[in-house]
């Protein structure tokens, strides 16, 4: 076991992790963050996407013990659930029904968040390219891309006020 300091969804945490434990396993089993889901185990499907210091990564490929001092964001960190408030990206995913079974949705929402942080107004091609690391077997891609464009517009158009809805 090895102690690591992680900031998880904004809260500093000191956790003992097994040297071989994947970040995915620690987030699910030790932190109870079940929006982080394993889909393929080899970093191809994106269902285990989390934001590591703001960058989207596949948590199934990272050893938790090597992430000391870093910040991790999962879907649970978005919006203000205690007040029933959704993040604007979550809200547009709902409005556009940008999912069917929903298994891939947390990963997609985090990837969209990272995309819009990097490029607030991506072209459709840039969005498709950026989101190619997340798979949706139900095939809701057209709705996901529409939701991405809508999130971009909303975040640029009504900065602060919409986020605090």
């Amino acid at each position: 076991m090895r102690p690591v300091q992680l900031t998880i969804n904004g809260e500093p945490r000191a956790i003992e992790v097994a040297e071989t434990a994947l970040l995915l396993e620690v987030l699910r089993e030790q932190c109870g963050l079940f929006s982080v889901r394993e889909g393929c185990g080899v970093g191809q499907c994106g269902t285990c996407t989390v934001l590591l210091d703001g960058r989207p990564v596949s948590s199934c490929l990272l050893l938790a013990a090597l992430q000391d001092g870093r910040s991790v964001e999962t879907l649970e960190g978005l919006g203000r659930p205690e007040l029933g408030e959704l993040d604007p990206i979550q809200a547009v995913f709902l409005e556009h029904e940008a999912f069917q079974c929903g298994y891939c949705t947390p990963g997609f929402i985090l990837s969209v968040k990272a995309l819009l942080a990097e490029r607030p107004d991506p072209t459709p091609e840039e969005a498709r390219e950026y989101l190619a690391g997340n798979l949706c077997r139900c095939g809701a891609y057209p709705e996901i891309l529409k939701a991405t464009a809508a999130a971009s517009a909303r975040l640029r158009g009504v900065q602060g006020s919409e986020c605090a809805l």
Binding site: E97, F99, G102, Y103, A127, N134, E143, I144
Partner: protein
Amino acid sequence: MHRPGMLHVALVRSQSPHARLVSVDTARCASVPGVRLVLTGPDLPGIPDLDPWIGPAFKDHPLLAIDKVRFVGEPIAAVVAESVEAAGEGAALVEVEYAELPAVFDARIAAQPGAPLVHERVEPARAFPDLAHLPTLTGTNVCYQYRLRRGDVEAGFKAADFVFEDAFSSPPAQHASLEPHAYLAEAEPDGKLTIWSTTQTPSFVRSELADAFHLPLNRVRVRVPYLGGGYGGKMYDKHEPLVALLARLTGRPVKLVLSRGEEFHTITKHGANIHLKTGVMRDGRIVARHVQIFWDTGAYADIGPRVAGKTGFASAGPYRIEHVWVDSYCVYTNKPPAGAFRGFGMPQVVWAHERQADLIARRLGIDPLDFRLRQTLDEGDEFATGTALQSSGLRACLEQAAEAIDWGSRHKAHSAHFSAPEDAEAPITNLRRGKGIACGLKAVIFPSTSSAIVTLNADASATVYTSTVEMGQGSETTMAQFAAEVLGLPLEKIQVHPPDTDITPYDTITAGSRSTYHMGNAVRLAADDVRCQVLDAAAQRLEVSSADLEMADGDVFVRGAKERRVSLPDLFSLSFGGRGSTVVGHGRFTPTTAPVDPESGMSAKSTEYWFPGATAVEVEVDDQTGRVDVLRVAAAADVGTAVHPAHCRQQIVGATSMALSLALFEEIVFDGGHVVNPSLADYMLASALDVPPEIVPIVVQVPHPGGPFGAKGVGETAIFSLAPAIANAVADAVGVSLVDLPITPERVLQAISVAKAPTTNRAGSAHFSAPSDR
């Protein structure tokens, strides 16, 4: 999911495709710290009160391999431990000694006399009425043969102007639901069994568990949370009986979650080889068709016999054909089991009949759309099986899909297979554009039964209890809509209870685009039952006939005199025992069918409804690299009444995306029975980059008189015809013929080089397989 004291399972899997088990040594495994139980297949016959054989068609599948293994990846032993890691460590230490047997990997070879036998003897399961006629099998790998005999096919070929023969293949593929199969079972000391399972068939799993352990049905509880995708991969029982057995043997909750690699060894989409011999007249009319299909169902039949039957049924295509002969064989091989996959075999047969439709149209110089429209089955026409079509918008699907991609402008823009340069200064390009169209017509599974319960509370809220599994298709919303409509309540007043066999009543399956129609009817009937009870009570209170009453927004009132009313809270207090009481309604729906003649396959009513679809595409083919870009897709589906139009469009778009992935990328590759690509790193799925920006869903509505408010189903309709539409468009673009899936750049290049080669050797290209011009 987690339960206190929960144990974890790792499975030891076969490394041999076909071998006798000489020994399974568990000594080293059992000494691993944390390992609580090691159960091997050879242990199973010694366990009292256990039937270790499962399967929906044949009881051919042992929970663990008992005497021999039949495919690489078949589970031989289960290691149960305190942690996933300990179970995995233990599993790696189980030593298996095999005595190799000859194996067979090709269904066409396995079907021949003298081929190595995958099973020496199998017994039928008799679990479903449509499979009740399956016999005990000995001495063959052919576990089912479907026959259709209509007219006199040989006379038809004699009368035809041309006879064309072509062979087509579809590879085995993976469902690849991003959520894998997962199970959590617990056994109470009194024997009651509870299992949470990722299943599309909770009622069937309950029966199977009851049979396996000789328990009454009410001692088995199957609960199903929302599924992370199913697509047919989570049908019937997979590892539920094994996990339940491990929970019984350890007295602890036991959980099994499959890895992605294990998914490839659990259930697959059937690979199929289809041979079509078709007699046509000069004007393009098909007069006779002979169909032979070999379905590779792998080592265990799973639902393969139903796939072979239901698709053999539809394999001649949605055309008026006087003489039809179909032999559809379901064949065991030493490969992982194949079962239901979205479309239930239709994508494989539609690939064949729609590719051949284009090949014939091109050979005869007829526009492919005209070729289809000249002989498409219309309302009232008799399908090849003798059943008249009812509520079928196939023609509208074809016409509207074609229109959406400007089919009419096709020949102008695509003459000589060159894309029209949009600007005169554009450089000469390797890119060739083409358009293609294809259609399919599926019959819903028959017979089947759905049951539902609806309860109404005094506060005008209601709950719907069904065993329909929500896996992203939107069934919860649809069922709530039906109840809301009948009860005159707003949608938000309706709750839908998730499947739980202690509470929700029987349903055959959540599959085959049947739930909206069947469960929709059951919910409608259950809500009607509630409504009748409420109206009868209100009629007494208001002293009118119940026929003059209406229900809306939580009130019952006299039609045309809204002031004469009683509110539901008042009515419940007066007539149903008080504020907290409930009115309970029940509905059961089983459509009727006419008997099917076992020799000819003919029946006056062999299905309840049809769902037709058509897909039209425009592609761009790079004739130097073979790359196919699908530029736009229009997919039309006749859904009956669109109960939830947005969800109908989503199903069409989603199925199209999945079909595109299957058409261009997907194939499970085998080498000596070993899956070469059991990982999403090697088995490619379409991403947002691959799906065309423009997918136009077209909802065609031909209401069905028997459907709830006219609805049919839509989950599979757009999955049939995309692959042949793409291949037909490739033929339009570069003049080559594809007969095998997937449509990889290598295949396209190979076809281009064959087409360019001197005419002497064109073997392998069905395009040129000898038409006999009389």
